[in-house]
């Protein structure tokens, strides 16, 4: 059942990714098709996750593949908050292809089937893995918003005459939404890290590279919020900082997790 749900979800996300591309050239129907593709895909993926949780009778996403699956669900879910608005459809152009790619990787990593239950407690997994993944999904979305900010800012600086033909969200709005997303994601990451460290101190265990990079990531995003409020770091500088933080998120999510999941 879980395996069967993967394909319609992937199909819906892929349709949305292609439709977003088409929406840039012919705005209108393609954009609406894309939004519906995201909605349908997300609902099917929710059903997939529900089936996985029911079969495993717990939290089956503590593996690398499983965590990617849950991460995609968080990213698309967070995107849906703004993605339904026509102005933010350009964001879908960055988010949906990424979601499709990660969803395929999740399947290759065995994260979309019925996995075995982890030896960790459900509460710990929800608090640690769930919160960290939710925070990373928020940072991913903030990075997409920042990338869109830089692109729109570049168009304004170059005084592109086509700027009103292909309209992006306003600069100030992109800047605010990215900052607000980080403001929501950072506490989740803080709590997720705290739960992980508490367990490490209680049960013992080594401090690995992934943990170190995660803490550096936390520092970068905390600094971006602090600089924004204290030193007026907005706009271009803030966008670059958010993108730098996202590079660390990508490293944590894709390059280092194998060692961490093994411990």
């Amino acid at each position: 059942m879980a395996e069967l749900l993967f394909w319609p979800a992937l199909l819906a996300y892929s349709e949305a990714a292609v439709a977003y591309l088409n929406d840039v050239r012919h705005p209108g129907v393609a954009g609406r098709l894309a939004t519906w593709g995201v909605r349908v895909g997300w609902l099917v993926q929710t059903a997939l996750l529900a089936v996985q949780a029911t079969r495993a009778n717990g939290f089956p996403w503590s593996t690398w593949g499983g965590s990617l699956n849950l991460f995609v669900w968080f990213v698309v879910g967070a995107y849906l908050i703004w993605g339904c608005q026509p102005r933010y459809r350009l964001l879908g152009l960055a988010v949906l292809p990424l979601a499709v790619l990660l969803f395929i990787l999740a399947r290759v990593g065995g994260g979309t089937g019925v996995g075995s239950r982890s030896h960790y407690s459900n509460l710990f997994l929800v608090l640690h893995v769930g919160l960290v993944l939710a925070a990373f999904a928020g940072f991913t979305l903030a990075a997409a918003l920042s990338a869109l900010y830089l692109w729109q800012e570049r168009r304004l600086k170059r005084r592109e005459s086509s700027i009103l033909r292909l309209r992006a969200p306003a600069l100030s709005r992109l800047d605010e939404v990215a900052a607000r997303t980080i403001a929501f994601a950072l506490p989740a990451l803080t709590l997720g890290i705290a739960v992980g460290i508490a367990r490490l101190r209680e049960r013992g265990g080594g401090f690995d590279v992934l943990m170190a990079v995660t803490i550096v990531t936390w520092t970068v995003y905390a600094a971006s919020l602090a600089l924004r409020h204290l030193a007026g770091w907005r706009g271009r500088r803030a966008a670059y900082l958010v993108l730098a933080g996202f590079v660390l998120v990508a490293v944590v999510r894709l390059a280092l997790p194998v060692t961490h999941f093994a411990t």
């Binding site: 729109q152 009103l164 907005r234």
Partner: protein
């Protein structure tokens, strides 16, 4: 009833001729009433780009003569379907100088309200207004700005989003900047201050748009709190330099600043645009944006043409169905005559008569229902002027034989485009039993 349109527009007539034919609202209403003459219908649509008379009466030629006598050497005359399609295009802004401009829809509405309309022109104008709205809502023809001042306001929205609560510093109180001020204010921006060489004109502007009147030497201080700077002075040198703006940026804490320079020679140092968070657009930049959006409007106009053509088709079908109304009326009258005569011949008491009247009325209605529907459906197929006439059916057998074919219009929506396909199909013989 025929529709006749006689008019002149910017396509053929220079302004010297158009201004002679132009009518204000009152005169247009009076003319419509006079042309209608109690029994006919007339609407006069007069804008800066066109003066058009729409008339409807039994004899189209008479209406045309009447209209021509008013407009003199009229430059174009259209009838029925062509006149309807023309009005639909006008309402959608497709016949305007700037495709999709929004003002024309209001002008058509005013003309409709002031006109002497009957069933035909009322329906025509209502459907034209509907077509205009549809073309604007289903395409992006009216979305992009068509003037420098509206482009400036639209660009400010690209930086700030909603302009509600954003403050504007106006430098120079000349006529040039007024349209831009109006555009910014209509989108929710607040005029914080107006700086001008002479205080009198600045005061005048602040009374109309709000804000505080300032002298030019206080402009730099005001930069700290302004979100948009709109400059249009006639000063020969820079009113604001890069250094002045750079100093103000420290106190702005990273808030973006959008600067509009409408002056020639320019007021604002172009180097300001290089500063982080500052976006400076001069008149050439704005004109380039407008030119680009007009290209986009023309592209959207092609999609709007399809919508308008569909609406014109619908109107044509409705108008054609009007031609069979007299035929249907006479058919029903003739059937009622026969029913009455037969009932009178029968020797019935009161109770039996009431029952027989009720039964025969029901039978008659059921018998005539299908031919009535089919006559209405078949009427759009017939060429105008050759539709079923009232006298032609009286005394003949009912047209119960199935029409050999009818037009079926299929609309298929695909990627925002509507395709209309006409196919010839045989009518269902079960619904048209042969006698």
């Amino acid at each position: 009833m025929s529709i006749v349109l006689v008019g002149i527009s910017h396509h053929q007539a220079p302004v010297e001729l158009r201004e002679r034919a132009a009518l204000d609202r009152t005169r247009a209403a009076e003319l419509a009433q006079a042309l209608a003459g109690g029994q006919g219908e007339a609407v006069c649509l007069s804008t800066c780009n066109r003066t058009e008379l729409y008339l409807a009466d039994e004899s189209g030629d008479a209406a045309e003569e009447k209209a021509e006598s008013e407009l003199g050497p009229a430059l174009y005359r259209l009838r029925d379907e062509e006149a309807a399609l023309h009005l639909f295009r006008v309402a959608a802004g497709l016949d305007s100088m700037i495709p999709g401009e929004g003002e024309i829809l209001g002008q058509v509405r005013v003309a409709h309200e002031a006109g002497a309309t009957g069933p035909l022109l009322d329906r025509l104008f209502r459907q034209a207004l509907q077509a205009g709205k549809k073309a604007r809502s289903q395409t992006a023809i009216g979305e992009s700005p068509a003037s420098v001042s509206s482009a400036a306001a639209a660009l400010a929205e690209q930086v700030f989003g909603d302009l509600e609560g954003r403050t504007v510093l106006v430098v120079g109180a000349g006529k040039v900047g007024e349209a831009a001020i109006r555009n910014l204010v209509s989108r929710g921006a607040t005029i914080a201050s107006v700086a001008n060489r002479t205080g009198e004109r600045a005061e005048e502007l602040t009374q109309r748009f709000g804000g505080e009147a300032l002298s030019l030497d206080r402009v730099q201080d005001e930069l700290v709190r302004a979100d948009v700077v709109l400059s249009s002075t006639s000063a020969p040198g820079w009113v604001l330099t890069r250094e002045q703006v750079e100093q103000a940026l420290h106190a702005r804490k990273g808030r973006p600043l959008f600067l509009i320079d409408l002056a020639v020679p320019r007021d604002l140092d172009p180097a300001i645009h290089e500063l982080e968070g500052c976006y400076l657009y001069d008149i050439d930049d704005l004109e380039a944006v407008v030119a680009e959006t007009l290209v986009g409007r023309r592209r959207e106009a092609e999609r709007a043409e399809t919508i308008v053509a569909e609406e014109a088709d619908r109107f044509r079908a409705w108008q054609a169905s009007l031609d069979v109304v007299p035929a249907i009326t006479s058919l029903r009258a003739r059937a009622e005559q026969i029913r009455d005569a037969e009932l009178r011949r029968a020797k019935l008491n009161d109770a039996e008569r009431r029952a027989a009247e009720s039964v025969t009325a029901a039978v008659l209605n059921k018998l005539l229902h299908l031919p009535t529907i089919r006559m209405k459906q078949a009427s759009p197929l017939r060429p105008r002027g050759r539709a079923l006439k009232s006298a032609s059916l009286i005394g003949r057998p009912l047209p119960v034989q199935a029409p050999t074919a009818f037009v079926r219009v299929r609309r298929r929506r695909l990627c925002g485009q509507t395709r209309v396909k006409r196919t010839w199909c045989r009518a269902d013989p079960r619904r048209f039993p042969r006698q």
